[in-house]
């Protein structure tokens, strides 16, 4: 639904961001004006809720390229017409400065993260890169190779698309390490031998094809290479050879990377490899295969004679899980993240990574999209600006009004009332300047909250006792808070040697912080924690020492002793069972106490509240799931269905507003046909369909269409249904169409 109605039809782009908007032809302004009465928060969600299909699908496909492009365009627009970029919210009442500030915050916040993410991704591939480069370099001199082609098999996991970066890095690194020419092949770009060779030659010689980039056209272009300017067919490796000779390239190395090896026809691979092999003495071909499944499966698809031409080595890419964890730590959990993504959204994104074939790229785009949504559509996101730029003048009454509609505001005031702080509550509601002051304070509280959360998490994970992954821990901490309970038992079951080690780990964690999370060490702030921890450690060590002197094997605490020891002794041919709880020594008891105090201490320091318990969290946390799903997981089928059953949602006409899922003559033809279609069997007699349709709209009805007109509309509607994939021509009966939908 529209946020505001723009009077200027020329500014068409203004509507582009909306998934759905009401189409009002000129002179037909029946637009419901209920928008302004709505609270800000809800509007943000509803504006994005409507599902889109086409636009969203494009976003997914275009992926990085798309976001890159928008980024460049947006930065150019800031310099020229800043206000045009981010619309003013509050129904247009937001000041231009505030809108501009939101944009600035976004523009500074995202690149920081982007840089960090890129770093993580590049780092992740480093060892693979080094291994591959050294293999390719060494294969040259390997005596066992013979005339076989050096072949690197890089196991990338099923999401080949996300390995784009890897191959980009490979081409960079290998070019540097071996002075080789690097050619990347994808199955889609190389449907047959000729096309593949053309691409290899064109990329290796870095020349633009004369035919104008027609890579798979049947036209055989000619290219001139070499000193004598002889012309070669553009798929003739002789040409490449001549080129390399002319370049005085002594090694004449060419590396061909098959990015999605499984997608290539086996016969094409066989042909190409045979060709490379036959050229082996003259051009040093090496090949790389990106393999989604496994080398064994891949080998099964090759001929044995082809396999014999390869001198292979296998490389693993860092597991996607690990990369995800690192990206998550640096971009979502880390202190550098300006915006906090909420637990619902995160859960969704993580689930999707686990269950679907969605690469890390999708994950990163999703983060970016969340940032974009937040700053674009939430006027309160302006509160994330730093103190200098966020002046008092910038905060309009609308901002304060918006704050007062927030759920967290309500909760906060109610809590104040419950706590008998009536003045505070009253001022919050009535006094604008008081509210502003509170908001400024809230900024610090947020900072404290985040620090506490991250430090607790860091301590928890450094203890190595928590099962599960960091991502899950973080999400559950945001959703339901965090404390020590889940691992108290694990701590209590630790032995006397493990506890000091655990404490040492905690101490180093406090000292060094976490570079992944960009969390600095906090020694100076945690002096008493450090001293108490060291005390406990020293005490336990002393106890262990004492016990050893007394000849006791190891310390046991009351927690471990009971559960473990059941003695069996055979006395006079009878088995005696005895429990040795009573046998705790003095040291054991002291040890138990020390553990108790350790648990107490940690419970004090490791805690965090759910994120939505904080006042004003809406301004700095984003947790809307719907826009994310609509954009990244569009459901075109559902969208079509919805549009066909309830077209007035899109058309905004009055005539059909009462017909939901029922037939009415005023509906667009395609919708009527769709309704009729739902009622038919799997084969639809077109004549029957026509008569049903004509009965509805024909001369006798209220619409009263003439037969010719009705027939034209009918055909067009039917054609549209076919376009949308609901019906197809039936082969069984000439005058019937078949339903494509199954089991409906």
């Amino acid at each position: 639904m529209a946020e505001s109605h723009d009077d200027n039809p020329a500014l068409f782009e203004d509507d582009d961001h909306r998934a759905v908007y009401i189409f009002t032809p000129a002179g037909h302004s029946g637009l419901p004006q209920q928008e302004k009465a709505r609270p800000v928060k809800r509007r943000k969600v509803t504006s994005k809720r409507a599902s889109s299909s086409v636009a969203a699908a494009e976003v997914v496909q275009e992926g990085e390229a798309e976001t890159e492009r928008t980024q460049t365009t947006t930065t150019t627009t800031t310099t020229t017409t800043a206000a045009a970029a981010f619309p003013r919210l509050f129904g247009g009442k937001e000041s231009a400065e505030a809108a501009e500030l939101r944009r600035q915050v976004f523009d500074t916040a995202w690149p920081v993260l982007d840089g960090r993410i890129k770093n993580v991704l590049r780092e992740a591939n480093r060892t693979t890169l080094e291994d591959v480069s050294s293999f390719i370099r060494d294969a040259e001199g390997d005596a066992t190779r013979g005339t076989r082609i050096p072949a690197g098999f890089i196991i990338t996991g099923p999401n080949i698309a996300s390995q784009d970066l890897l191959f980009e890095q490979l081409s960079e690194a290998l070019g540097k390490a071996t002075q080789a020419r690097f050619v990347r092949l994808r199955a889609a770009g190389a449907p047959n031998l000729k096309a593949a060779l053309k691409k290899v030659i064109r990329d290796a010689t870095a020349q633009v094809s004369i035919g104008g980039g027609g890579s798979d056209g049947d036209e055989d272009a000619e290219v001139a290479f070499g000193r004598d300017g002889r012309k070669y067919l553009d798929y003739d490796l002789e040409g490449l050879h001549a080129f390399l000779s002319a370049q005085q390239d002594p090694s004449k190395r060419v590396i061909v990377a098959f990015e999605d090896s499984e997608a290539f026809e086996s016969s094409l691979l066989t042909d190409l490899l045979a060709l490379f092999h036959s050229w082996q003495g003259r051009i040093q071909f090496s090949v790389l295969f990106g393999i989604a499944t496994s080398v064994e499966l891949f080998q099964a698809r090759l001929l044995k004679s082809t396999a014999r031409q390869l001198f292979g080595a296998k490389f693993d890419v860092v597991q996607a899980d690990l990369v995800l964890d690192n990206v998550f730590k640096s971009a979502i959990a880390g202190t550098q993240a300006t915006l906090r993504l909420g637990p619902t959204l995160l859960r969704n994104m993580l689930d999707r990574q686990r269950d679907q074939v969605a690469g890390i790229r999708v994950f990163i785009s999703s983060i970016k999209y969340a940032y974009m949504c937040h700053f674009y559509a939430n006027p309160l996101s302006v509160l994330l600006a730093d103190e200098k730029s966020l002046t008092r003048q910038l905060l309009q009454p609308d901002h304060l009004q918006a704050v007062r509609t927030l759920d967290s505001f309500k909760a906060h005031v109610e809590a104040a009332v419950d706590a008998r702080q009536l003045n505070h509550a009253q001022s919050l509601v009535e006094d604008d300047s008081y509210l502003v002051k509170q908001m400024a304070e809230q900024r610090l509280k947020k900072q404290d909250y985040l620090m506490q959360l991250l430090r607790s998490l860091h301590l928890l994970t450094s203890m190595d006792l928590v099962p599960g992954r960091f991502t899950d821990l973080y999400v559950s901490a945001l959703a339901g808070g965090l404390d020590l309970t889940p691992i108290i038992d694990a701590i209590k079951r630790l032995g006397a040697d493990d506890v000091p080690a655990l404490i040492n780990r905690l101490l180093t964690a406090i000292q060094t912080g976490s570079p992944d999370l960009d969390l600095p060490g906090w020694e100076d702030e945690a002096e008493d924690l450090i001293s108490s921890l060291s005390e406990i450690r020293d005490e336990i060590e002393a106890l262990a020492e004492q016990a050893r002197e007394k000849g006791q094997q190891s310390l046991k605490s009351k927690f471990t002793a009971q559960s473990k020891v059941l003695r069996t002794t055979v006395v006079a041919q009878k088995v005696q069972l005895s429990q040795d709880t009573a046998k705790l020594t003095e040291e054991d008891k002291a040890f138990g106490k020390a553990i108790d105090s350790l648990v107490d201490l940690l419970t004090h320091h490791i805690y965090s509240d759910p994120i939505d318990s904080l006042f004003l969290h809406e301004a700095w946390a984003y947790d809307a799931e719907a826009p994310y799903r609509d954009v990244f997981v569009p459901r075109p089928g559902t969208t079509f269905e919805r549009a066909l059953t309830r077209p007035h949602g899109y058309l905004g006409c009055e005539c059909c507003s009462k017909t939901t899922g029922t037939l009415s003559a005023t509906l667009p033809t395609t919708c009527i046909l769709y309704q009729l279609y739902l009622e038919t069997g799997s084969l639809v007699n077109v004549a029957d369909l026509w008569s049903a349709y004509y009965a509805l709209v024909g001369e006798d009805s209220d619409v009263g269409l003439g037969e010719r007109e009705a027939l034209v509309r009918f055909y067009r509607g039917l054609a549209e249904l076919r376009m949308m994939g609901f019906v197809k021509q039936s082969k069984k009966k000439a005058d019937h169409v078949a339903k494509v939908k199954w089991l409906l």
């Binding site: 099923p158 499944t293 080595a313 597991q319 199954w742 089991l743």
Partner: protein, 528 residues
Amino acid sequence: MGDSLFQLPDELLFTTLSHTFPCRDAQIRAVATLLHPHAAPCQNLVIHGTEATGKSAITAALLQALQEDTEKDEPLLRYVIINSIECITARHLYESTIAKVAEALQWRGAATRCDSVSQMVVELSKMLKYPSYPDKFRFVLVFDGIDRPREAPITLLPALARLSEIIPRITSVFIVTSPPASFLRTSFVPCIEFPNYTKNEFVTILNTTSLPTAPLPTTTIQETTELWNRFTAAVHDALARAASRTLPSLQHACTSLWPRFTAPILAGTHAPREFSKLMVAARVHFQDESLLDPGIVAIRSCSTTTQPQANNSAAALPSAPPSQANTPRKAGQFTTTTTPSKPKATANPFVSATTTDLSTLLPPTARLLLLASYLASHNPTRHDLVLFSTFHHGRRKRRGGLSVGTSGRGGHRGAQSKHRKIARKLLGAHAFVLERMLAIFTAVRGEWDPRWLDRDVDNTREMDADIEMAIATLASLRLLIRVGGAAAGGVAGDQMDRGGKWRCNVGWEVVRGLGRSMGVEVEEWLVE
């Protein structure tokens, strides 16, 4: 020169050639006679023989030697070799022939464009027919592997055979695997066969050409050579008769077995004379399959782990020599790559990519789709309503239903199963319409995936972009295959066309494993 009409080349030439290529004396002499300008040069010559019998190598070496031999004051023999494997199209073949001939004759200004055989003839005539050459000048055109051109008109071979009629100076040599009768469509063509080697020949060749370069430590060259000779005979007996019949594969087997065979000598347990003891010690290695089928991975692990790997296999193969450490092409490792404990699939879908097990490689949605498409491929359409419809029962319980057990009980079902003798899952996969598979997918997802159990039926029906992405991925991995005209057409075949036809490309074993990884017995869902 004029004193004798028939004159064979220098004997020295034959000796050197026979030294590099033992056991081919007769063939070398025959070919030389038929190519040498002073002997009996012929018009066309066919050289045939099976794989790796030295056809290409010997022809090339012989022609080079002949050219040098006849090079006195004026050129008498020139040759080019056109490897038709390297020619992608017929045009490519013509043009590279012309280019190579021009280069051999140092001819400037040959046409570069050449679309047909007749054009090629014109060009060749320009270069070879009209200019004046010495009296007995011969030009040899060698077409290697011409029986396997990639894309050539059927008239290509006869036309090439006529070349020498039009241009009398030319001798065309055709190297083929086995010549079909009269495939050149000209009368009388001399054929020279390069037969496969016999055992003695194999051994002789191996003994002369691929002797180990360095003698083993603590032994003399003499002893090493003797040992190698007996060793190659043994390898031939063990492997060549059964499987590895070509010279290169035998060579490969010998060189990779040699270090392991001689390990006891290095270790000092046996002397080089004790051949039979060495044989007994090395018997395990002779049974190693990777000798015959080395696989594509020559180096198992590339980074720092090479060393431990070597140690590993040293432990596994008791007498593996230390010298193996730097030649990490290992035996038996292929068979030992089964991971001992498979990690839980759902916890970590990308873990351990070394297994062939798809269930650890694919995320759950993709696995479900693959199962659904297997069902769609192997169940007849008419049973769909019974199997998958949730319409009448709301939600159905798991049915142990329509499999073999029940089919015997029902009267008409029993009659039906009489017709069908072969289990459906043993038959090939049938094509299915994408929409049908998606319907099955939504139906089974509701039953198999616990997270979908509580959603209402309407919700489960929806298809989102993730599922389409999974289909596209499966297609790119060739686990699902698009069939029918649209698949070949490319442009016309939209992958997401719901009416498109597909086929499941994984076998029963894989599917059963996949099903079990998700706690599903796929067998229960197949109609027998």
